[in-house]
């Protein structure tokens, strides 16, 4: 095995081009587990922790460009106001030790259906920035997950950043697990209200082969709110509407039975989480008036 530790982004991209089978490692919270358990023996380990721009975030074109190496701890400390859904999800990741190392970019790289970042990124319509020596391209996060633990990265590409629009309205994140810490989600749900567009975003975790949007459910909720004039009046969310939204989120999922939970449980939990998230977010929206 080779251990490469480039100190510039250009060197990292050159290394990935030269060694397409290199496994990138940042926080190590997924990759090192695979190495420790002999599940993976890459020919090259590509350490990305020495590249300053990966650890930075900034604002550009009305979006926050979150470098792939920004840790969950920093999302919580530095971005909770602007990216509240992602920060809520980050708070549920592992433990303080894990949040000090694990990164949103790593979550995207692993592309596990259970990754906690995915539902809020889907709900807010984030865009993943991929780079290689050939250039840079942007992939909407909903198109980024291509299969179980598979993503849209070409073999010579690295995840540079994820672009997220700062919240224009309330956001919520819900996650079911066996305890409140150190838990991989049984199922998870992210919701974002976009009042300026009278739109809703919804993302589902651990309930399909990939993280996925609940697009029809989100469109239904946004449309019903609009039809009743509620975006403008900020009137109460009809209970029946929240329940039906939950049902439609459930219908967007395609979970399996596994060691963490049954498909039936996941479907039920999703419908409850979606109903609650919509209710909480709408209450926040009304209070913000």
């Amino acid at each position: 095995m080779d251990f490469l530790a480039p100190t510039t982004w250009a060197d990292a991209l050159a290394a990935k081009a030269e060694h397409p089978d290199a496994v990138p490692v940042a926080g190590g919270t997924d990759v090192m587990v695979e190495l420790n358990f002999d599940h993976r023996r890459p020919s090259v380990l590509l350490d990305l922790t020495r590249i300053p721009e990966l650890r930075a975030w900034d604002r550009a074109d009305g979006r926050i460009r979150l470098g792939a190496g920004v840790t969950y701890a920093r999302v919580i400390d530095e971005l909770a106001a602007e990216l509240p859904g992602l920060a809520m999800a980050a708070r549920t990741v592992g433990s303080p030790q894990i949040r000090n190392r694990g990164t949103v970019g790593g979550n995207l790289g692993a592309a596990s259906p259970a990754g906690d970042s995915h539902p809020p990124l889907l709900a807010s319509g984030a865009v993943v920035e991929l780079a290689s020596v050939r250039g840079t391209r942007e992939v909407p996060v909903a198109e980024f997950y291509t299969g179980v633990k598979r993503n849209a990265c070409a073999p010579d590409e690295l995840i540079a950043a994820v672009h997220v629009t700062p919240a224009g309205g309330p956001q919520q994140f819900c996650k079911i697990g066996t305890r409140n810490a150190m838990v991989i989600s049984v199922t998870a749900f992210g919701l974002a209200l976009h009042p300026a567009r009278k739109a809703v975003g919804a993302g589902i975790g651990s309930a399909a082969p990939t993280p996925r949007r609940a697009e029809a459910a989100a469109g239904y909720l946004a449309g019903e709110l609009d039809a009743a004039g509620l975006w403008d009046s900020r009137g109460a969310l009809p209970e029946g509407l929240a329940v039906e939204f939950g049902r439609r989120v459930r219908d967007a999922a395609a979970p399996i039975d596994d060691v963490r939970g049954s498909a039936a449980y996941r479907l039920h939990a999703l419908s409850v989480m979606a109903r609650r998230a919509a209710t909480w977010a709408w209450d926040d929206y009304r209070r913000a008036a």
């Binding site: 251990f3 190590g28 190495l35 420790n36 358990f37 350490d47 433990s95 303080p96 190392r101 150190m182």
Partner: protein, 154 residues
């Protein structure tokens, strides 16, 4: 490969480090620092917690090569000579040690908590220690020790 890093304030070199090796393995097997414990090897138990550039991390999930040139502080680096750190003393005084395996990780994590928050509430203590498992389930004594250490440091 060879790596050079600062451990508990001293520059150290480790030779013949395997490229996929964890910092935990390098500390224990190559640098003679067995205080950090090896249990789950997947970041679940916290018994390998060390500071890396000032942040507590699971050393089992850091590649040794990633720690090259960085500063590591282990449980061995908390005491001043023979004088236990107040956190360590509180764990002794409160009987917060049963089999002792989780203790080094809990001591480092508590040390970090009290550096950031000298007067944590009980929920804050529980949140901070959520990534450190004690399978003797001595959590009540551990809570007592953290509260006592917080009081002793104020």
């Amino acid at each position: 490969m060879r790596i050079e890093l600062t451990v508990n304030g001293t520059t150290r070199e480790a030779d013949d480090v395997w490229e996929g090796e964890s910092l935990l393995y390098a500390l224990r097997e190559r640098l003679g620092l067995p205080g950090s414990k090896n249990a789950c090897e997947q970041g679940e138990c916290g018994s390998c917690t060390v500071y890396l550039d000032g942040l507590p991390v699971c050393s089992c999930l850091v590649a040794a090569g990633q720690a090259a040139g960085r500063e590591v502080r282990t449980v061995e680096g908390l005491a001043e000579g023979d004088e236990l750190h107040p956190v360590q003393q509180a764990f002794v005084d409160r009987g917060a040690v049963q089999c002792g395996f989780c203790t080094p990780g809990l001591v480092v994590t508590t040390h970090d908590l009290l550096e950031r928050n000298p007067a944590p509430s009980d929920p804050e203590i529980r949140e901070a220690l959520a990534g450190n498992l004690c399978r003797c389930t001595g959590y009540e004594k551990i809570m007592d020790a953290v509260r006592e250490a917080a009081g002793a440091q104020r």
